[in-house]
Each structure stands twice: as C-alpha cells, then as structure tokens.
C-alpha cells in the first residue's frame, strides 16, 4: 500500500483542537484500530497539539499548528509541528506520568498539570522530537493492529 497522508492546519486556539482530534480518531477507526486504540491515538494528538499551543505559542491564537497524519501498511505516523521556541532538551525523555503520592490522602501534592507527554510516551510505540531552522516537530508512531485484533 502506498502511504496515505493528510495534513491539518489549525489556528493556535485550543477550541480548534477537537477538530483535529476527532478527525484523527475517525481515520484510525478506518485503518482498523479498535475504538480504544483510536481514542488513545486521538488523546495523544490532542495532548501534542495542546502542548504546541501552550508552550510554543503561549496559549495565544494567530499561529499555525500543523498535524500531518501518514498511514502506511505497518503503522500510523503523526507529526505535530509548530514554529517557535523548541522544548528544552531532555523534557521528552524525562516525561513520565506523575501518579498520586503513596499517601493518596495527600491531595495537595498531586500535580494538576504535566501529564501530557507522559501519556503520549505510554500510549505510542515511539515518540521523537526534532527542531530545525525554527520549526519543531513531535513525531508519534503506533503500529497498526494485527489482523486478529482488528475486529475489536
């Protein structure tokens, strides 16, 4: 199968993020991912796009976030790209899901934010980041389901 590719470009307003998320979900379902896998991939794309808007563009509209979805016969590849200050080196590698403290009664020490990259790393098969000439791209990859799982 020749790779199939679709590109989304949205304005950097968090209200636009569901447009991309729901489209990615639908495309994943068409590619035979299960409903849960499609939801999880949608979640990762939403996290990545929201991160771009917040951290690259300071939450301000008027900028572009580009999402390129490529479907091959082995995997889905999603590139989430922005133009601006890159994330700090090591942020991606160090991203883990900060769970509740051992004493779950210690509500004050449960972080409100910072789970996005950890969620992405846990769900996707691989996550990579590159920054070149002011353009930054976070690349998410997930293998296509095997035929026996595809019917779920």
């Amino acid at each position: 199968m020749d790779p199939k590719c679709v590109t989304f470009i949205i304005d950097s307003d968090v209200k636009n993020v569901p447009l991309v998320g729901m489209s990615v979900n639908r495309l994943c379902r068409a590619a035979s991912y299960s409903a849960l896998d499609a939801f999880n991939i949608e979640l990762c794309v939403v996290e990545a796009v929201t991160n771009s808007i917040r951290h690259c563009y300071g939450g301000k509209g008027g900028h572009e976030v580009t999402v390129i979805l490529t479907l091959t016969n082995r995997e889905i590849v999603v590139d989430v790209c922005d133009v601006g200050p890159p994330i700090s080196p090591g942020v991606l590698e160090g991203a883990v899901i900060q769970g509740p403290p051992g004493d779950v009664a210690d509500i004050e020490n449960i972080p409100e934010r910072g789970r996005g990259l950890g969620i992405i790393r846990k769900i996707m098969d691989s996550v990579a980041y590159r920054s070149e000439d002011g353009k930054n791209c976070l690349t998410l990859r997930k293998r296509l389901p095997t035929k026996e799982k595809a019917s779920a």
Binding site: V14, V17, L43, E47, T50, V104, G114
Partner: protein, 110 residues
C-alpha cells in the same frame, strides 16, 4: 462542554456533557469554585455524557478535589465511559476519586 447542576439533599451533582479538555477545563473549575464559595462542597461529577478527557480535563478534576477538600468536602465521579475510565487508570488518578456507576449511588455514598 455543558454542565447541568442538581442538588440532591446536601450533595451537588454536576452533569457534564461533551469533552473535558483544555477548552472546557476552566468551566468546571469555575463552577466548583463558585459552589465552594457557597460552602457546597460535597460534589458528584457525573461523566456519563463525557466521551473525551485529556490531561487538562484530569487537571480540572484534581483541582476541583483540592478546592473542596480544603474545607472538608469531596468529589466523586460517576458514569465513566470506558475510554474515560481508561485514562484515569493510565494516570493512576482512579486511586484518588471514588468512582460509581451512577450519580444516585455516588450521591448516596456521602
């Protein structure tokens, strides 16, 4: 996201519908904040109508819990759809919330 509100005895039940995400997280936090100012701090957040949650949505639930916890209240969740429940389990936040099948059972648990 839409939020409907019903008071059942001394419990406030918030029925959420739509996506709990970066665009709507503030809406939930503001609603809980205003209830907190009225000392209405026993909350059920019914999520039967929520088909998507991201880390911002999770953060708003954590924030809500912290807000009411300070004054002796609690937030319980009900009606989680499977994919939403999976996100709470992935992030281990299912350990800090009481989770119930429906809002009536959750409200009675107070």
């Amino acid at each position: 996201m839409e939020i409907d509100h019903e008071a059942i005895n001394h419990v406030e039940v918030l029925y959420l519908r739509g996506r709990l995400d970066a665009a709507s997280a503030r809406q939930l936090k503001d609603k809980v904040g205003s209830l907190g100012q009225e000392n209405r701090v026993n909350l059920v957040v019914d999520m039967a109508g929520v088909d998507f949650i991201d880390s911002s949505g999770l953060g708003s639930l954590v924030s809500s819990l912290r807000t009411v916890n300070k004054v002796g209240g609690d937030v319980k969740l009900s009606g989680l759809q499977d994919q939403v429940r999976s996100v709470l389990e992935l992030t281990r936040l299912d350990r800090i919330f009481g989770i119930y099948d429906d809002s009536t059972t959750a409200a009675k648990s107070f």
